[in-house]
Symmetry: C2
Subunit: 193 residues, 2 copies
DNA sequence: CGCGACGTTGATTTGCCTCAACGATTGTGG
DNA sequence: CCACAATCGTTGAGGCAAATCAACGTCGCG
């Protein structure tokens, strides 16, 4: 077993060898070059995507300023899908783009539904994944209320050191709801102490 | 069939009459008076809660200022549970309190797991519910980046008119990440135009 | 080498907060 | 049934965290 997605599923649900084969066959590998788009706003998110290796950014384009607002990053062993667009097969308001060369596993919407029908245990798997993600989104909303810019940055460094290491600062700033300039000043201040 | 929870489940999954009976039996009704707590921070969220009628607020207490920061509201036919505390049966950082007299359906954690084992279709139901909630949390994060305070309030009024009608303004202000005073000024300004 | 992507720095501005005080309602106990 | 206290919303004055704008280094890469 060298499929990281199956490994992740097995952390949360039991699958028979036959089910593992069936699930494995549903997914296909794809490689994105740096700068390639996985999803553009206005398009339908046609696949559910699991990152094997690399880094992606999901962002919203601010209609007034034209600037990117980072919704999330996705690196190894995490998901990068516009859930709402994928589930309804409606056009998306987000963009997903590769920050570096990135390997993915993909499944299209029809296969996804069929896979869930064949292997109902995966309903449980995705429920559990979503529970964890929901909790992290709620925490992010609260931290944005309670913490100031510096505290958010410190918390980010502690919580996501791998992300901090491979994502440019101006994108981290956007994720953390502050300007790149202000993040720079925070970092300068911390140098001294 | 006069159980709103079962009705909601049937919108998303099929259940046999036997399953409906089984599920129905798992939940018990509870009534909270105005001001009663469903959950206090530090306690474990022992039940999953579905609101039949009434209104609740979920909030975080800011350690520095001592003020409540609204995480969400829950009114008729919506959920009010600290997902993270419930799933791990660990202590919660949030509080949930009744704004008015509120009727709930509740299920404890052991029964919840047992119910899912007996009726696997509910794994799908909760997955679908969480997908929708995840999408709304992501949208909330993006709107907080892109919209200014007035735009957030206008959007809130359009999106949740029922909430706007029954929740005091100072709590709406907290939910929308602005001070009660500033929301008051926004409303005054809108009177004129 | 030259260009684009990224980070930094300074000067200035601003959206929103904080604090404090004051109506307007509501409900509640004497 | 009224007095009085909460609770909620509003208003004014002053202040600050962070944004914006502009300019300038610096590094990696075609």
């Amino acid at each position: 077993m060298n499929n990281p997605l199956i490994a992740d599923m097995l952390k949360h649900v039991k699958l028979t060898p036959a089910e593992i084969d069936l699930v494995t066959a549903c997914w296909t590998e794809k490689i994105l070059g740096k700068g390639d788009y996985l999803l553009r706003n206005g398009d339908i998110c046609r696949t559910d995507n699991f990152v094997l290796a690399g880094a992606l950014k999901a962002f919203y384009i601010n209609g007034d300023t034209g600037k990117e607002e980072i919704l999330y990053f996705a690196i190894d062993l995490w998901w990068a899908t516009d859930i709402d667009s994928f589930r309804k097969q409606q056009s998306s308001i987000y963009n997903i783009q590769a920050l570096v060369t990135t390997r993915l596993l993909q499944i299209n919407h029809i296969s996804f539904e069929e896979m869930l029908k064949q292997v109902p245990a995966l309903e449980r798997y995705f429920r559990i994944i979503l529970e964890g993600y929901t909790a992290s989104l709620q925490r992010r909303i609260i931290l944005n209320k309670v913490y100031d810019a510096e505290q958010r940055y410190v918390d980010f460094l502690a919580r996501y050191p791998q992300l901090a290491a491979q994502v440019p600062l101006y994108l981290i700033a956007s994720y953390l709801d502050m300007s790149a300039e202000f993040l720079s000043r925070i970092r300068k201040k911390q140098d001294i102490s």
